[in-house]
């Protein structure tokens, strides 16, 4: 079942169109990548989902219902531009933001304690936000985003500003939240950064959805049956079933990209190679989301 359904959403500003008839669905309990270059319309779409702005036309359905103010408490949003009240204490700030999301004071206090223990940041509670480092502030903001245990968590450029250690910590938390049933939307222009995490993606470019679906299916669809082979010896392919796209050789070590033709299986290629050269590495070249995006965008441009 889909937790969110975007149905023909269009949003225009005075001099440009931010979203043009965008539709897709986000299945519950997955990690969903909302990908696209800067200015593609990702933030506009997120602002519609978080009810900061409204769509000019089209509808958004949350758990099958039209989006309404009551849904705000089920959505957690970490904006790209992070920010907290600088002169407010961490504890008070978390309490305030949680209460605004509809938690009672007791509930909020209990959750804060839980999160503070998990991140081992108890001693921060009495400090003003401005006295924390940027990374610490990001952690506090992450807690504020997920503290009310929303069913849908929207993270805009989630890993910017985190060092690798904290980025991993946040990654683990995100996976844990997913395992507990939450749906997570990643919005980013750095596609490689979330590729491994996402189960589903939607690509947006210039206000249009370019493509969407499960990552595996998309990748399969864009596979070119090309394998990279590294080994010792003189590679000379003469079979009509294989085509060498690229080949380099130095100091007796070769590296070649070979494409399978005529529905030949990779095993055939391997068997063919083994008879002729010493194989050190045999890897399928899977297109990255980035590659797929570029291909798709150039395709649509030329079309």
């Amino acid at each position: 079942m889909s937790i969110l359904k975007i149905d023909g959403v269009t949003k225009r500003y005075s001099n440009h169109t931010a979203l043009d008839n965008v539709s897709f669905e986000i299945p519950a309990g997955c990690i969903f990548g909302l990908l696209g270059p800067n200015g593609a319309g990702k933030t506009s779409l997120i602002r519609i989902i978080t009810q900061i702005t409204g769509a000019d036309s089209g509808e958004v359905y949350f758990k099958g219902e039209r989006l309404k103010p009551n849904h705000i408490k089920d959505i957690g949003y970490l904006p790209e531009e992070r920010g907290l009240y600088k002169k407010m204490k961490v504890g008070e700030q978390l309490l305030y933001l949680a209460q605004l999301k509809g938690l009672s004071k007791q509930e909020a206090t209990a959750r804060i304690k839980e999160w503070v223990d998990r991140f081992e940041i108890k001693e921060w509670l009495g400090k003003n936000i401005e006295d924390l480092s940027k990374g610490m502030q990001q952690k506090v903001q992450f807690i504020a985003t997920v503290m009310h245990e929303p069913a849908l968590i929207i993270l805009d450029e989630p890993f910017s500003g985190f060092d690798p250690i904290n980025a991993n910590l946040i990654k683990d938390e995100i996976l844990r939240l997913r395992d507990r049933g939450a749906t997570i939307i990643f919005s980013t222009h750095r596609m490689e950064s979330v590729e491994e995490l996402c189960d589903y993606i939607a690509l947006i470019n210039r206000a249009h959805k370019v493509l969407d679906g499960p990552v595996k299916e998309i990748k399969d669809a864009y596979k070119t049956d090309t394998f990279q082979v590294i080994g010792n010896g003189q590679l000379l392919v003469t079979s009509p079933d294989f085509e060498v796209l690229e080949q380099h050789e130095s100091h007796g070590v070769f590296r070649a990209n070979v494409k399978l033709l005529n529905n030949t299986s990779p095993n055939n290629l391997l068997a063919y190679l083994i008879q002729r050269v010493e194989v050190h590495s045999f890897v399928e070249l899977v297109p990255s989301i980035n590659d797929i995006f570029i291909r798709k965008v150039t395709e649509t441009h030329h079309a």
């Binding site: 005075s14 103010p69 904006p79 531009e81 600088k86 002169k87 903001q141 504020a144």
Partner: protein
């Protein structure tokens, strides 16, 4: 509603807990007390024992000038030049010279020489002392009893009370003006001080970039109204604390420094009368008491005039225009904060907001006071942008009920309208960064669909 309440609480608590708020709130009454105590204290030190040399060539006042606790006389003999030389060598306050030609029937030519300028107080006291002595001698000369005169004087003073009924109108106008202008001034400063705080608060949320988090939880309108109401509560708290603390501090100062509270007019009247009637009362004190009683009369007339004012109506109007004016301007200040990225960009938008405020402030104690029922006063007290200040000045003079009701109704409509405009600018502006905004752009925002 629950969320607005949370926002109000936060806006209120963070501000009230700020050091600057606490310091301002505590310091202002202390400064007030200082203004009250320091001049009084300065007077007491400068008062310490003054000595005046007296060169009396007539011999009329030879030993008639009585020493007082803080004013002593030293008689001299010889010529004026000699006396001057002697005086130069001492550190006495002054040299009083009564020339030979002095005649009690034509009391001229008395001179005070002093190294520094003689204080007005000393001069008046010396004049009083001489006057009394001259009067005494005139009584003796004309064979009249002084106490008879004192009784007559009291009679005259009684007629003066009836005359002052005529003067009450004058007094009343002053008191009425003060009551009106005081209300207008407070409203003016409140709008300015706390309106700017609203603007700063919005800019802070924008520059801190917390705004997006906030409006994914609450409606922009809730955030704006919560801020406006919260800051209004801060302002009211501050005013209330100022009043309470001032009373406490003034009371404390009085008991510690022995500065007497001003006696009630009636007490003063009574004591003044006693002093005048009493024969053996020191002239000095009697004069003082007489002056006091005159001051007391003015005060008491002022009090009567004040109690004649429609105080209930003034208070209700004050509260109404205070809140109405604040809400009207507060939302506009909020909108400015939302439209700009930082405080330096606010100038061009502040201008059209401050102009009506300043004009109504200036007008209220010029044209409006002069002619509280004139056309300028009328229109300015009807138009919502100026009415909170101008109407406050007019109310103590008496305003026809329909004018007051029309003005109030328009003010309510006015702030609903400005809040509507402000909310529209606000919801667009708070998410707009790095764009120089002009009026054309702002007017477009009013009709954006968000």
């Amino acid at each position: 509603m629950h969320k607005i309440w949370l926002i109000i609480q936060r806006e209120y608590l963070t501000r009230v807990r700020k050091k600057s708020f606490i310091i301002m709130t505590l310091l202002t009454p202390l400064l007030l007390a200082a203004f009250m105590v320091i001049p009084a204290w300065l007077v007491t030190i400068s008062d310490s024992a003054e000595t005046v040399m007296v060169l009396d060539e007539t011999g009329l006042f030879a030993d008639k000038l009585e020493d007082k606790k803080d004013l002593k006389y030293v008689p001299l003999a010889g010529s004026l030049d000699q006396a001057k030389t002697v005086y130069q060598e001492t550190d006495y306050t002054a040299l009083l010279y009564i020339p030979k030609a002095f005649d009690i029937n034509k009391p001229d030519g008395v001179i005070i020489y002093s190294k520094k300028n003689t204080s007005l107080q000393t001069q008046v006291r010396l004049e009083n002392a001489l006057e009394k002595e001259i009067e005494n001698q005139r009584f003796v000369a004309s064979g009249m009893d002084r106490s008879t005169l004192e009784k007559m004087k009291a009679n005259i003073s009684l007629t003066a009370v009836s005359i002052s009924d005529e003067g009450e109108k004058d007094n009343n106008a002053v008191v009425t003006s003060i009551a009106g202008v005081a209300g207008a001034v407070i409203i003016y400063f409140f709008i300015f001080l706390y309106g700017v705080q609203i603007m700063r608060g919005v800019i802070e949320e924008k520059t801190n970039r917390i705004i997006e988090v906030m409006i994914s939880s609450v409606k922009p309108f809730q955030l704006m109204m919560g801020k406006i109401v919260g800051i209004a509560a801060v302002g009211l708290t501050q005013f209330l604390l100022w009043i309470v603390l001032s009373l406490v501090v003034v009371g404390g100062v009085q008991s510690v420094f022995g500065v007497k509270p001003p006696p009630t007019p009636l007490e003063q009247m009574a004591s003044g009368r006693n002093a005048e009637l009493g024969e053996d009362v020191d002239t000095d004190e009697a004069t003082q008491a007489q002056e006091e009683s005159e001051a007391a009369k003015m005060v008491s007339e002022g009090m009567t005039a004040f109690s004649n004012l429609p105080i209930g109506l003034i208070l209700v109007c004050f509260l109404f225009y205070f809140l109405g004016g604040y809400l009207l301007y507060g939302s506009l200040f909020g909108a400015i904060g939302a439209a700009v990225d930082n405080e330096t960009d606010t100038q061009q938008f502040m201008f059209p907001i401050t102009i009506p405020l300043i004009i109504s402030f200036i007008m209220s104690y010029t044209l409006v006071l002069k002619n509280p029922d004139g056309p300028v006063a009328f229109w300015m007290s009807i138009i919502p942008l100026t009415s909170p200040i101008v109407m406050m000045v007019r109310v103590p003079f008496g305003v026809p009920a329909w004018e007051l009701l029309l003005s109030m109704a328009l003010l309510v409509l006015g702030f609903i309208f400005t809040t509507w405009i402000a909310a529209r600018i606000y919801r667009v502006g708070i998410l707009m960064y790095g764009k120089k905004i002009n009026y054309k752009e702002l007017s477009k925002w009013l009709f954006y669909r968000v």
